[in-house]
Symmetry: C2
Subunit: 156 residues, 2 copies
Amino acid sequence: MNLDAETDLKLERIIDVPRQLVWECWTQPQHIRQFFVPRPHSVTACDIDLRVGGRFNTVFNVDGNEMRNNGVWLDIVDGKKLVFTDAYGEDWKPAENPFMTAILLLEDADNDKTRYTAIARHRTPEARLAHEEMGFFIGWNIVVDQLVEYAKGLRR
Amino acid sequence: MNLDAETDLKLERIIDVPRQLVWECWTQPQHIRQFFVPRPHSVTACDIDLRVGGRFNTVFNVDGNEMRNNGVWLDIVDGKKLVFTDAYGEDWKPAENPFMTAILLLEDADNDKTRYTAIARHRTPEARLAHEEMGFFIGWNIVVDQLVEYAKGLRR
């Protein structure tokens, strides 16, 4: 995948969760609610229609404020790749000011681990910088830590 | 499909071309070049990778000026639906200022004709208005006329 250092942000880690379980956590609302935003913030609602053009809507509680994030799935490769964005609503309605397009890539790693690559693509260098200053690397890494912890509980 | 009168434009016609032939004309570069812009403007190049996220790039000659249009397919339902946009390049790279998202719907009509619905969705009412004032209805109707004429030649 060709990335653009001016507009994209990328996080890559090997995590001790089997690829199929990461996939399930990322595609089922009851799991998303458990890890998808850094605590003490929380996911209060999640609605997923897992098909190209289908909705991926979440509501976050951030310091008591409700934050609605509506978007769609752009690309789905079962168990391996998810692409979603706030640039569209259902029926391909374009959003006026989309923020980003996110790409999650999952690959098998040794010992039943997973190479987890998360990419955020932006329309402009300014949007990338704003996202970095909002704490992209810390925030998305905490989310991965929470995902690993939660997934280990599922395996017990 | 839920449309938005503030931001969308729609053209619907019954055309005397079988649905499968309309589909072929819309998805093969050698056909696209024959009808896709109102004459005397012309398509000088067309590059299609017909899959979700694949490229749909064209070059127009408009009064001697080269006009490049790069985009991707968002959704493909074989023989029935095409969605494409200039909002992305390959690998889901977001464009800074996308203009529109286009949806083509093809349905069987009586006597081997086709109900041809073309929809242009925009991010803002201002973009819809600009597109209408650029001649959306005249232009897209001429394109349909050219498609019908060209397709009849293919059936001889």
